[in-house]
């Protein structure tokens, strides 16, 4: 009798507990979807804009050695969709390039027609048939006003230059080199020439889910020696460890006018490299509180609120029951980095990839868009269910593709809806479901911002893996003010990469932005700085140019793009590095 009574009590308590748990934690849909008051309109307009690009990646089918691991081909071919926004013809309107790595496929270059439509002109520019391209970075490596292209591929990266209207290869990075999605462009030595930070990913499989030690290599710096010739610079950074790096972010993490690096690392902890006074880098792992998640995919940086230090957003894998920590938002507190993604409600976005901060409604608060989804199929087979069969195998065993369960027909965190986190000040609210964002639930990778119509309404392009590209035009009528800035360096690098901007508003508020268009995952965003002002007017803009000039610009025109040229503003101070 005593047994039955106590069991009854326990059963009642347990049922209550399950009901509590169900109500509180089971809903996987983003919380508070209907809470955001303002109407946000982001419409998928690829058809209307004349964009017809489907990413193709069957690269590994053509590789003989991979015959042995056919069963995991979808995994191998799962990370190469990228997009690069660039004003390639210097007409003041943003164009974009999308590479396609399959041997018989064509990369596309879309030229902005200034009316919301694009025309595809990759053949005219000599960019249609490239050798297994995976990611392109447009930057001016010789400061001549035209954009060169860093092109990573399944082989060594190459540099292309526009010669007589067509792009031609002018430099090939020396061996050893391998497949790389993660690179960033910066002028780390402040010599006025843009350099490259690059880290390889791999065709091999990791030997651990959390502490893999068999990646293809560490982070490398390539110094621009002039005339777009690059040399590996091991004096400034040397990382012998072997990692799987998806993305490299650049930010002034400690507010010291430095260009610190954050490497989003898969199967291990992220690595942080602080820039020293002499321009060199040293790894600063101890400042990152013991991280829970070890699937870093992308790095985006922004001043989320009016804080002293920028915040770093790291995309991660989130899957209930398996990988539960989600995305992170790290901010330096003077001694170490503290993660506040959960408090700000931006930690849950499925299997996250590209992420980008941008002020969608020009209210003065940066919002956040995240692309997600890994491998989508329609068979109903879920690879998460299969993973339990081999996940506990030892290190030696895990990195052999023969030992993995077959991916044939399986979905792995597929059909996920991208996230649009609107900034409410203290926290964010995901309105993706509310506005039917990404109804087709593609597998997003690279995500870039673009203001196609130069009207201050920043939209997005999402490069979907082996699927049709998504182009979201921002049609939100916010009535808020904004200002756009195109920075042109003279003594600094011409693209002004590394510049930081502080806008002073009529209400006395100051907003900070840094210019690193290559942050994120496998994407290059609109090269102009866009600042939402809310209902305020603009008083002034202060620009810290990469080379050290600190200048003030006044009498700028709101609600349009302004061109700011280095040394044309009112000099406040010259910072020395």
């Amino acid at each position: 009798m005593k047994f039955q009574k106590s069991l009854l009590y326990f059963f009642c308590a347990f049922v209550g507990f399950l009901l509590f748990a169900k109500g509180q934690y089971f809903p996987l849909a983003p919380q508070g979807d209907s809470l955001f008051k303002q109407k946000i309109v982001l419409n998928e307009r690829s058809e209307k804009a004349n964009i017809h690009f489907t990413h193709k990646n069957d690269f590994f089918l053509s590789e003989r050695f991979i015959e042995a691991s056919k069963k995991i081909l979808p995994f191998y071919n799962s990370i190469s969709a990228s997009v690069s926004v660039v004003d390639i013809n210097n007409d003041g309107w943003q164009d974009f390039f999308v590479p396609s790595p399959s041997p018989n496929s064509k990369s596309h270059l879309y030229i902005n027609q200034k009316d919301g439509t694009f025309v595809e002109k990759a053949v005219e520019y000599g960019l249609a048939q490239l050798s297994s391209p995976v990611r392109a970075g447009f930057f001016d490596c010789d400061n001549d006003g035209t954009q060169e292209i860093l092109l990573t591929s399944y082989k060594c990266p190459s540099l292309y230059q526009n010669r007589g209207g067509k792009y031609q290869r002018i430099f090939k990075f020396p061996e050893p080199c391998t497949f790389a999605m993660g690179f960033n462009i910066l002028d780390y030595d402040k010599d006025g020439l843009l350099d490259i930070a690059i880290a390889p990913f791999s065709r091999t499989l990791p030997n651990s889910w959390h502490s893999a030690s068999n990646g293809p290599g560490g982070l490398m710096l390539y110094k621009n020696m002039g005339h777009c010739k690059f040399e590996a610079d091991t004096n400034h950074l040397r990382e012998p460890a072997k990692h799987y790096t998806h993305a490299i972010g650049v930010a002034d993490l400690r507010n010291l006018n430095r260009q610190d690096l954050w490497a989003a690392t898969d199967f291990n902890r992220d690595r942080i490299f602080f820039q020293n006074e002499d321009g060199g880098y040293s790894q600063a792992q101890e400042v990152l509180k013991k991280p829970k998640a070890h699937n870093g995919m992308s790095v985006s940086a922004a001043y989320v609120t009016n804080q002293k230090y920028p915040s770093i957003y790291i995309s991660q894998v989130y899957e209930p029951g398996y990988s539960i920590f989600g995305n992170q938002l790290w901010t330096f507190d003077g001694q170490q980095f503290v993660d506040s993604a959960k408090e700000r409600k931006i930690n849950n976005c499925g299997w996250s990839w590209g992420s980008k901060f941008s002020d969608i409604n020009n209210d003065g608060l940066v919002d956040l868009v995240v692309a997600n989804g890994f491998i989508s199929t329609t068979t109903g087979i879920n690879y998460w269910d299969k993973i339990g069969r081999f996940i506990f195998a030892s290190k030696r065993y895990l990195n052999n593709p023969w030992n993995w369960m077959s991916f044939e027909g399986a979905s792995w965190s597929g059909h996920q809806r991208d996230c649009i986190f609107m900034n409410q000040g203290a926290d964010f609210v995901n309105i993706a479901e509310q506005i039917h964002f990404d109804e087709d639930l593609r597998d997003g990778r690279g995500l870039a911002t673009i203001d196609t119509l130069n009207n201050g309404k920043v939209g997005f392009i999402v490069a979907n893996q082996r699927q049709k590209l998504s182009y979201y035009q921002n049609e939100t009528e916010s009535g808020n003010n904004w200002i756009g800035l195109k920075l042109i360096g003279t003594t600094s690098n011409r693209d002004a990469i590394g510049a930081s901007v502080e806008a002073e508003l009529s209400n006395g508020e100051r907003k900070k932005y840094s210019h690193y268009p290559f942050n994120g995952y496998s994407a290059q965003s609109d090269s102009r700085i866009h600042i939402g002002l809310g209902k305020n007017n603009l008083k002034s803009i202060r620009v810290k140019w990469p080379h050290g000039l600190n200048e003030l610009y006044t009498h700028l025109k709101m609600n349009q793009y302004n061109t700011l040229i280095e040394s044309k503003g009112k000099l406040i101070e010259t910072l020395s590095y």
């Binding site: 347990f14 959390h210 209930p320 990988s323 069969r389």
Partner: protein
Amino acid sequence: MKGISITIPKLSDPRFIFLMFTFCFLGYILFLPGYGRSASEYLFLMSLCLFFDFFLRGIMDGKWVFPLSGLVSAFGLFMICDVSSPIYYIPMAILAMGSKFFIKIKSRHIFNPTTFGVVFTSLAFPSAVSPTGLLRWDGNLFMSLFIFICGLLMVIKVNRWAVSASYYLTAVAVATPLSFFIHENPYTYLHSLMWEGIVVYTFFNLTDPKTSPHKLKYQLLYGASIAVLTQFFRTFDMRLPEHKALLIACFLYAAIDIYIRDKEKIEVWKVREVSIGGR
């Protein structure tokens, strides 16, 4: 004035051997780069388990017993589960220790508390609790060997070696032919058996003297049935196959024991009583 009498285990209690290993493992895993959990989180979970073990026993049984079981369960829970926030250690500890005092047959708890806590917390909070925490052990075969030796000493001491042996042998015997039907590399499961976490499970979770059979023949059957159930769950890609199999086996054994009376001579931990505050 009457003092409080607290029962504390004797040093010959086999759980002390387990605790000794526990702290070795704890030291090891906390320094692993991929482990992702801190010592303070362990202390929090340990405090919860000690609290619930001590007070639930006091309230339910009217006895104040040093909560050694709480210590053991805390390690098991900490080792296995990733939690998105330490707050989830609270329901985990309540479920684990609660199962010990509320779900009893013939005055004996029937489920291994750690297993009960792991399974039900992760089912209730799939978005916040993940039992894949074992992955963070790094897949080091030398560590597996060390745990294997420690485990072997332990099961010989508590007279449960047959459970572990039977589990291992049956698992291999069933998994090898089964792998051909489910299109799995036959070595995959053998490798899984060598994983540090599975070795701990085999020697420490399966062989809980309070919930596992006493007589040799029943131990052999018990270990074998868990191995078969595990393979069944794995075949259908169910989460937590080992732990679910153990829970079911515990329940079935407790039910069958009503008739077979294997636990008539129930093992009792060796204890001594200490009075505090009496005059």
